[in-house]
Symmetry: C2
């Protein structure tokens, strides 16, 4: 029985767990996965310097974190050459998206995204009563022109683009993204999710311009920096837009160890370079494994490779299930026609060996 | 210039940092504090077993945390003898309060609290457009009868009580709190903030009854367990009420290391006993220091002692500033007449030595 004291909006929302965690699936299947390739984590782990900084920070875990997230905020600002006031730090991009929608989207307000793009954004929009309008992907890419056209048509408060895109791994050039930023209609703010940007060519990220009030960009330490469990990401925009986060955010919400780990990770550029090299090798390996099984890998600018299985969603879902049963944790896009694909994160070389061994077995299971 | 795209509610809210962090104050004064006695942290730190568990968990920081917060949730449930579904875990009580108000408080809805009680609750209520109604303390205690009377009068959606109370350290007996729970008017949910409950006598916490839909209780690992920087707390209520949190919470919001540390801390009952003993000694020491300076310590059921300075708010504010200048970080209640007091957290014995040395000097500074 629903609690009648809930707000009408809350009463109408479902209680969900948006993603089933691999640990939960492991409990269900009664055994751990042999290859954890489903959550786009960085299996290589963070910089040893970040780990060392977090070990040291454990000594101060009894202290609250710093609400301004300093000195990390200033370090990030220096790195990307903006004012600290142009950056807000929060509990991962997920947490920041949750705040953003509360700031900009009232009940009944329109929001535009791509059908099959990041579901947690949609979850947060629903959580404030926003009305989602979705446009189709165009050839496995998000479609900036269609997104802008729809945002203009419905008077959207927010329009979302991930670049590189999850779950497809595709990316637009900086020129295309900048053209989208420039075309954002009045009254609308573009949400540019750059969670995977470090894995992509530099030429895919538009120049950061925090005088441009058309866009807010989000980046994270969860992916290229290997700190998914730390829960720390950041937003970059015009300082006036960023100041809005201080209206409602949980100021002491970021874990103190995460603050220390992110700072050290940011400073270890050499480790990041090695990571990117390993991810590049891993992508090539996954692509080869796909081809060896007569499947078609999509070119990827992220730390995963999306593989076109050449059949329908039922086939891909069966393949994901068969892989999971055989100890290989992978996920897949949720919406057609991208659900003809499965999505494989770059894991350790030994995990990709397991993928190479079991993908043909899993394909055999469902043939 | 305010962003005109903000929701009307967001546009009307101020951008704030509710508490100035001690690190920020240290940056301002150009020197670290010699005694950190202002944020009700546990200066003794967490259980060494919790620290060891967090060190081990660092190896998995590249993985996302578990959205169901297992196995911690089940361990908590077993400890307090309720179903796991009667517990929700989040980014500290602050984070959980932020979700709670979104579930229950719409724009214009009434919420009742005490004038001078926890400001972060008020901040979250303002963040959803709730209308706060405040009743006065009664002799340095929150006043359950007045809170219920006001909640009934204004048709409140939520009524807040902290027990033990911050910032005064006072506590009501379980009977008094249970009577308040039983008197919650229809349409209202009581928010029982038990952040400091471990420091109080067992006789101050009503029996936990998760069939009672009048109340939701919040507890934390930030205080007695020494994990303030980890950001992890929990709510206990009827499973239907708890399921509401899954409508809008940031499911992957809790840091993975925090999950591991909290679990190990929970299991180290021996360390908790030692902590409580040390806090008891610290309270006695602070009280003695107060009396040595002709000030009046209030009896405390928390990990701090609130000291009645016997003068007005201006005097107490000057004393807090003088102590801060002399390297002793303390805070004070914000509302009259409690602002005749300063609030001193139980620190390390060496820090209380510094307090003993500098309190008379600070009093001299302002006399």
């Amino acid at each position: 029985m629903t609690d009648t004291r809930l707000t009408p909006l809350a009463a109408a929302l479902p209680s969900t767990i948006p993603f089933v965690a691999p640990e939960t699936m492991e409990a269900g299947r009664g055994a751990p996965f042999d290859a954890r390739l489903g959550a786009n984590e960085l299996s290589f782990g963070p910089s040893p310097k970040a780990t060392a900084a977090m070990q040291t920070a454990l000594n101060g875990i009894w202290k609250y974190g710093i609400p301004e997230n300093e000195p990390l905020r200033s370090a990030l600002a220096a790195r990307i050459n903006v004012a600290p006031e142009a950056i807000t730090i929060g509990e991962g991009i997920d947490g920041l998206l949750g705040i953003l929608v509360r700031l900009y989207v009232g009940a009944g307000d329109a929001v535009v995204t791509s059908d099959g793009s990041y579901p947690t954004f949609n979850y947060h929009v629903a959580g404030v009563g926003g009305v989602l309008h979705k446009v189709p992907y165009k050839g496995d890419f998000e479609d900036p022109e269609a997104l802008i056209a729809k945002a203009t048509e419905v008077g959207a408060k927010l329009v979302y683009l991930s670049n590189p895109n999850n779950p497809m791994g595709t990316v637009h050039s900086a020129d295309v993204v900048q053209a989208m930023i420039d075309a954002v209609p009045d009254g609308c703010l573009m949400v540019l999710d750059e969670a995977y940007t470090e894995f992509a060519a530099d030429s895919t990220a538009p120049k950061i311009d925090t005088t441009n009030t058309n866009v807010i960009r989000f980046r994270t330490f969860s992916k290229a920096y290997g700190l998914a469990g730390a829960r720390i990401g950041y937003g970059i925009s015009d300082p006036e837009i960023i100041s809005g986060f201080d209206k409602i955010r949980n100021h002491f919400g970021v874990n103190r160890i995460a603050q220390a780990g992110a700072l050290a990770a940011l400073h270890d550029s050499a480790y990041l370079s090695v990571t990117l090299e390993k991810v590049d090798q891993g992508r090539a390996r996954i692509a080869q494994i796909a081809r060896d099984n007569s499947l078609t890998p999509l070119a990827s600018s992220a730390n995963f490779v999306t593989i076109d299985c050449g059949r329908d969603g039922d086939f891909a879902r069966a393949l994901v299930a068969a892989l999971n049963t055989r100890g290989v944790f992978v996920r897949m896009p949720g919406a057609a026609p991208m659900d003809r694909c499965i999505r494989v994160s770059v894991g350790l070389p030994a995990e990709l060996d397991i993928l190479a061994e079991r993908l043909p077995l899993a394909l055999g299971d469902i043939s």
